[in-house]
């Protein structure tokens, strides 16, 4: 068989397998082909990590309770080697992992699927204690702090009419950098957070309050730390406050993990414990959501699939699965159009960075780093350095530029620019090196042409990769990659003209 025929045979087989698996998944297993009538189901994973000290270990993690605005569809616990049970104490659920002896780093997982019921209010009657324990601020060295706290409370009370407005005023003061009293208090309680201090003051003011621990639900978040809200009792009902804005009400997409009560994690027999959260959103058909929420038991759709991975890996895979699509865009633009790019797959890496940074931010950061980097690189070229150390010097420069961009933009309040870290540094350094060679040999015009070409391809790749259909297909039907592979193989056999050649050879046709 000639290589050409082999390519077609292999491509046909791959396409057939890919299409077949897709059809099976759709018709037999009910996977939706199109994104659309779906509900967003959030999968939240809590990871308890600690170093066991060798003796018996007991870890207890507070679990979220049923809530009216969030429907819990299913839970899983992963605890290899550990005994496990769910304890119920004082209205609280706690997952308890136990083991006779363990040593070294340990990871325990708890995962739950949650469906956000739109429009449902937070359930009100909460059987929480409204007892207030006045903080003890008697010691002499705390005189100043006590006065500051009293003054802050007094000020807030003067400016408010009821408990709700009092809390808002108090939080405003606690967020005000210019307030002397507030600064004094925070300097004293260096290890306490805003919510800790607010709770202290509310207790001073004789107002029942507690903290709410939870998470902001955003897709593809890894290693999240839990965030705190404040809940205050005004005599009849509990009101939730967002501490940094001071406004009442639960923020959108906030998932409440723990309401009141004690610690999130108790650990005996280990050190360095921490709880981190990962969040990922899956588009699940409405039918599936209702099925799962009524049955309340988890059904594995496909056992051997990406869904069975820990979600921290799943969300990485969500991105990795988009890379072939970007590669396809590069293939098409080079073989059919004839666009020149600097480096074959540099545009794909750029496109991935753009997905994380948003397009406009990404573009401006890229151009900024390129310009600054080229400038430094030109100076370096006059120092007669060897290539490896020169590139390493450019890498260091790029890292410094990234650091400076982050800090300066943060100070200026441009939070978007903090996403600069998503750019692959080594790739940037190589691009700068290449571009400076092109500059020296072919002039700045060629640099603009090549950088522009790369950016154009990167933007097109970004555009395709962020398409919601493409995202849906790559994640839910990874077997479609076989079809894509088949297509790339066939394209690799194309011997026709490129679009750019239709212009290039125009003078030959007269």
């Amino acid at each position: 068989m000639s290589p050409r025929v082999q390519v077609y045979v292999i491509a046909a087989l791959l396409a057939l397998i890919g299409a077949g698996l897709t059809a099976y998944k759709h018709f037999e297993l009910g996977f939706p082909l199109l994104p659309g009538e779906y509900r967003t189901v959030w999968t939240i994973e809590a990871k308890v990590g600690f170093d066991a000290e060798g003796g018996p270990v007991k870890a207890a993690l507070t679990l979220p309770r049923e809530q009216r605005n969030m429907e819990i569809l299913g839970e899983t616990f992963s605890s290899s080697g550990f005994g496990f049970f769910i304890a119920r104490e004082n209205d609280e659920y706690r997952a308890v992992w136990t083991r006779r002896s363990a040593e070294g780093p340990q990871s325990l997982f708890y995962r739950l699927d949650v469906y956000q019921t739109p429009g449902a209010a937070l359930e009100q009657p909460l059987n929480l204690s409204t007892q207030v324990q006045k903080p003890f601020l008697g010691a002499r060295e705390q005189e100043a702090v006590r006065l500051a706290i009293d003054s802050l409370v007094k000020q807030a009370r003067e400016r408010s009419s009821d408990v709700e407005s009092f809390t808002t005023q108090l939080l405003f003061e606690l967020n005000d950098d210019g307030n002397q009293d507030r600064n004094l208090v925070f300097r004293h309680y260096t290890d306490k957070s805003l919510v800790d201090v607010a709770l202290l003051m509310l207790a001073t003011a004789d107002i029942p309050a507690h903290r709410i621990r939870g998470l902001y639900l955003e897709d593809d978040r890894r290693r999240l730390a839990p965030e705190d809200l404040l809940e205050v009792y005004d005599g009849q009902r509990w009101i939730v406050f967002e501490p940094s804005s001071g406004l009442p009400g639960i923020p959108e997409n906030f998932f409440i993990w723990q309401r009141g009560g004690k610690s999130l994690l108790d650990l005996e027999g280990g050190r360095n414990s921490q709880v981190t959260f990962s969040v990922i959103s899956n588009d699940v058909p409405a039918r599936d959501v209702s099925m799962r929420s009524t049955k309340g038991e988890k059904e594995a759709l496909v056992d051997f699939s990406i869904y069975s991975l820990p979600i921290e890996q799943q969300s990485i895979f969500k991105l990795i699965l988009l890379v072939p699509v970007g590669a396809l865009v590069v293939v098409l633009l080079r073989i059919f159009v004839g666009l020149r790019t600097s480096g074959t797959f540099m545009p794909v890496l750029l496109a991935i960075a753009f997905i994380e940074t948003q397009l406009l931010t990404g573009l401006s950061i890229f151009v900024l780093i390129l310009v600054l980097g080229l400038w430094v690189r030109f100076y370096l070229s006059r120092l007669n350095l060897l290539l490896v150390s020169r590139i390493a010097a450019v890498v260091v420069t790029v890292v410094l530029i990234m650091g400076v961009i982050s800090v300066v933009s943060y100070k200026l309040g441009i939070e978007q620019a903090l996403t600069v870290t998503f750019f692959p540094m080594i790739i940037l350094a190589w691009t700068i090196e290449r571009m400076s060679i092109v500059w020296e040999e072919d002039g700045p015009y060629e640099v603009i042409v090549q950088a522009g070409g790369s950016l154009l391809v990167a933007v097109l790749a970004w555009w395709v990769m962020t398409n919601r259909y493409v995202e849906h297909w790559t994640f839910n039907f990874p077997e479609l990659l076989l079809v894509l592979l088949a297509f790339i193989l066939v394209v690799g056999n194309y011997t026709g003209y490129r679009l750019s050649e239709l212009m290039r050879f125009r003078p030959l046709i007269k």
Binding site: L386, D442, N493, R498, E501, L502, R504, F505, P507
Partner: protein, 334 residues
């Protein structure tokens, strides 16, 4: 109204392009077809090092008895750099180039000296330190594919045949011949211009002159894709251009087939006043601009060679050259 504007847009887009059918009819070879049908099929990967490294090319040419510009010295390691100044100190004219450079990158031509200063061919002067930096850059792999560390060659400057003096501005004219399975199929002369900055790359504004394989006379000339009759700087008419010793030159190109073993090959040749044609470098991935320079597509000629029988393909160099000169004469194809 709608139909009118639709047509208008179509015409506007088409203004910049020609139809692929027309190109196909002309037998224009495209990049994809070149890569798959010729380079991948007729050029063995293992033979690429012979042409990708100019030191290897020189060695192979010596063995095959093909004349090349004299190699004065080669520096393999960064440590030997210290000897560079010793080597070039007694020289007045020389060329420093990377062994693995591509597309004419990294070539420094020194055409004279003025005390401590070295004069480039364009007249600008450089100092010894600049030359050392250039050597350093070459060693670091600045000009080689993929940035691999490279070797530095110091070559004697070719004493150019004055016949091209009026057709080239501040640069070195060279002749590119495409050789397919040992048969020369097309040739062009590349003349640098003021706008190409002394470089012989057509896309940078150099003039491409199609040369008739049968006679060595010019038959077509283009700059930036437009047909021209006179050199834009020297105003010389290309109609009078004839390459001297044409047969020897074509024969030299054709004999590169045996030397490299590559089926699809571009040979860059310069004319020395004393020694005649010299092989500058060979290229396993020659570009397609030669079609524009000649105003003719390559594909028919390549197909023609592909259609030859085994007996013909095993002929010696002289028979192949004679065959090509007969079959691919300008008046026959145009």
């Amino acid at each position: 109204m709608l139909q009118f504007s639709f047509k208008h847009i179509i015409n506007k887009v088409r203004g910049g392009m020609v139809s692929p059918m027309a190109l196909n009819e002309m037998g224009i070879l495209g990049m994809n077809a070149r890569n798959i049908n010729y380079i991948a099929r007729y050029n063995d990967r293992e033979k690429f090092p012979i042409v990708d490294d100019k030191l290897n090319t020189k060695r192979a040419a010596k063995r095959a008895g093909i004349p090349v510009p004299e190699l004065i010295a080669a520096f393999e390691t960064p440590a030997s750099r210290k000897r560079v100044m010793e080597v070039i100190d007694p020289l007045w004219k020389f060329v420093i180039k990377p062994a693995r450079g591509s597309g004419g990158k990294g070539i420094l031509v020194i055409a004279g000296r003025d005390g401590d200063k070295y004069k480039k061919i364009s007249g600008s002067e450089v100092e010894a330190l600049d030359i050392l930096r250039h050597v350093n850059n070459i060693h670091s792999g600045l000009y080689s594919l993929g940035g691999k560390p490279d070797r530095v060659m110091v070559e004697a400057l070719v004493d150019f045949d004055p016949v091209f003096q009026d057709y080239s501005f501040e640069g070195v004219p060279d002749i590119r011949v495409i050789v397919f399975r040992g048969f020369p199929v097309m040739a062009m002369l590349r003349c640098s211009t003021h706008s190409s900055d002394g470089k012989a790359n057509l896309h940078q504004g150099a003039v491409g002159v199609g040369i008739d394989l049968a006679t060595g006379k010019s038959c077509h000339a283009v700059q930036r894709g437009l047909r021209i009759q006179h050199h834009p700087d020297t105003k010389m008419s290309f109609g009078e251009l004839k390459v001297p010793g044409w047969y020897d030159l074509v024969r030299l190109a054709a004999s590169c087939y045996e030397m490299t073993g590559l089926g699809y090959l571009g040979c860059d040749i310069v004319l020395d006043r004393e020694r005649g044609p010299l092989l500058l470098e060979a290229n396993a991935r020659p570009g397609l601009a030669i079609q524009v320079a000649n105003g003719v597509g390559l594909r028919q000629r390549l197909r023609f060679i592909e259609g030859l029988d085994e007996e013909m393909l095993e002929k010696g160099v002289d028979e192949r050259v004679a065959y090509s000169m007969r079959e691919f004469a300008a008046e026959k194809t145009l």
